[in-house]
């Protein structure tokens, strides 16, 4: 029964706070009043379910899902793979993961992106998938380039892929960004630096995974996403989850 399930409040020393002036856009878009807490109700514990019939065969293949006439986008071919888990280490199966990114030159296919680097006629930059029963997901794509933005003079985002993840509960909904191991731009980025704890930043850095790479074809990066876990008052004394 939902009566004995609940979420513990998010750790707001782990997540970025709202007002982070080095990231200029946050200055006018950050609430100033404290958030109002209330214990989980069925509205927070439940959430939408997305069926497999929504997902097309190429939805998770950004190399092929926009390419014209058998052509291929330019750039380093990579697999991005991992699992969606909860805080208890349990897989989150059959859950929707949506990603988006710039092309290999760092250009987004969006009317608002005026960066002088060219669009790739064979690259859209979006993908989606449902995790398997064991929580695993996989995308095939081109590694995005670093991307200049107007936050400050000579500001560059590290190479990154945006991740939007659902869990079974509306309160688990999460959007984050994945970075690439070894990118020297990571510690210089004001958006990365909205995260107070270096361990939390490290959790967003994908690791090279040669075991998953395909010889003479593509490299691979491993990246897990962790969602909030649902606790149960039945196990309150043991601080366990269900």
């Amino acid at each position: 029964m939902t009566g004995d399930s609940y979420f513990r409040p998010r750790d707001r020393t782990w997540h970025p706070v709202s007002h982070t002036p080095e990231y200029k856009s946050s200055v006018l878009r950050s609430p100033q009043r404290p958030l109002v807490y209330f214990p989980s109700t069925s509205s927070e514990l439940s959430g939408p379910v997305f069926g497999h019939e929504l997902i097309g065969e190429l939805d998770n293949d950004l190399i092929r899902n926009f390419a014209k006439n058998g052509k291929m986008p330019i750039g380093p071919r990579i697999i991005i793979h991992g699992k969606v888990l909860d805080e208890f280490g349990k897989p989150v199966p059959n859950t929707l993961v949506e990603i988006w990114q710039a092309n290999a030159s760092g250009r987004y296919r969006h009317k608002k992106d005026g960066y002088l680097a060219p669009l790739d006629p064979n690259f859209g930059g979006c993908g989606r998938t449902l995790t398997s029963d064991d929580g695993s997901y996989e995308f095939t794509t081109i590694q995005p380039g670093a991307y200049p933005w107007p936050n400050h003079e000579n500001a560059w985002r590290p190479m990154h892929v945006h991740f939007s993840v659902f869990g079974p509960s509306f309160a688990q909904r999460l959007i984050t960004q994945m970075y690439f191991e070894g990118d020297p731009l990571i510690p210089l980025c004001p958006i990365v630096n909205t995260i107070p704890d270096q361990r939390a930043v490290d959790q967003l850095v994908a690791r090279l995974d040669l075991d998953k790479a395909v010889s003479m074809d593509c490299l691979a990066y491993h990246f897990d996403v962790v969602l909030r876990g649902k606790y149960s008052t039945l196990f309150e004394n043991k601080m366990e989850g269900n």
């Binding site: 998010r10 750790d11 707001r12 782990w14 997540h15 970025p16 706070v17 709202s18 990231y23 856009s25 946050s26 200055v27 878009r29 950050s30 609430p31 100033q32 009043r33 958030l35 069925s42 509205s43 927070e44 439940s46 959430g47 939408p48 929504l54 888990l85 909860d86 805080e87 208890f88 280490g89 349990k90 929707l96 988006w100 987004y108 296919r109 969006h110 009317k111 608002k112 859209g124 930059g125 979006c126 989606r128 945006h162 939007s164 509306f170 909904r173 999460l174 959007i175 984050t176 960004q177 958006i191 909205t194 361990r199 967003l204 962790v226 149960s232 196990f235 601080m239 366990e240 269900n242």
Partner: protein, 179 residues
């Protein structure tokens, strides 16, 4: 099967100005990738009600690059919206409120759970939309909110449904929840 907390939640990052590429690509001008963008539910009976949401920043300027998702748990109704140039709002078609009541014990008073992500928003903001002319006084969550701020959570009636203005910051700042 129960377990102990072993991992930390992945920290949030802003969705950025191009969130639509990922979630509703055809809206962003990227056609032909998905057979259909995921926008969510529409009312089962075609005679739904319009809900137009507007978002303003700390200077009172309209925020036009956000993504909003709503969830009405008792109806298993979920939908997304993005800024619409015609209505200058984030429009939704929702089931008529007189069909909601009594779905679950938590839903005695109709409300919509809302989640907002955008450039400049580091972690998704949660709020709720309640409706005018309902006995909102009995709602347990609304009663957690300071009386002077409760009005920020109540939609206004319009000629074709409801409007709801979200103020991210400032004197009229909307109540956001830690859920």
């Amino acid at each position: 099967m129960a377990g102990k907390k072993q991992l930390n939640e992945s920290p949030s990052q802003t969705a950025g100005p191009y969130v639509h590429i990922g979630c509703i690509p055809a809206y962003a001008g990227i056609e032909g990738v998905y057979k259909q963008d995921i926008w969510g539910n529409s009312p089962v009976d075609q005679a739904g009600t319009t809900l137009k949401v507007r978002i303003f920043d700390g200077d009172g300027a309209p925020v036009t690059d956000a993504l909003i998702e709503i969830w009405i748990a008792g109806l298993k109704f979920w939908a997304r919206s993005a800024f619409d140039e015609d209505s200058l709002s984030y429009p939704f078609q929702i089931p008529k409120t007189n069909s909601w009541a009594g779905q679950t014990s938590d839903d005695a008073i109709p409300f919509i759970s809302v989640w907002i992500v955008a450039r400049g928003v580091n972690i998704g903001l949660h709020t709720r939309i309640y409706f005018p002319d309902m006995e909102n006084d009995v709602d347990k969550v609304l009663n957690q909110v300071e009386e002077t701020r409760r009005g920020s959570l109540i939609a206004n009636e319009s000629n074709d449904g409801y409007t709801f203005d979200i103020y991210l910051q400032g004197e009229r700042e909307t109540v956001f929840f830690d859920i």
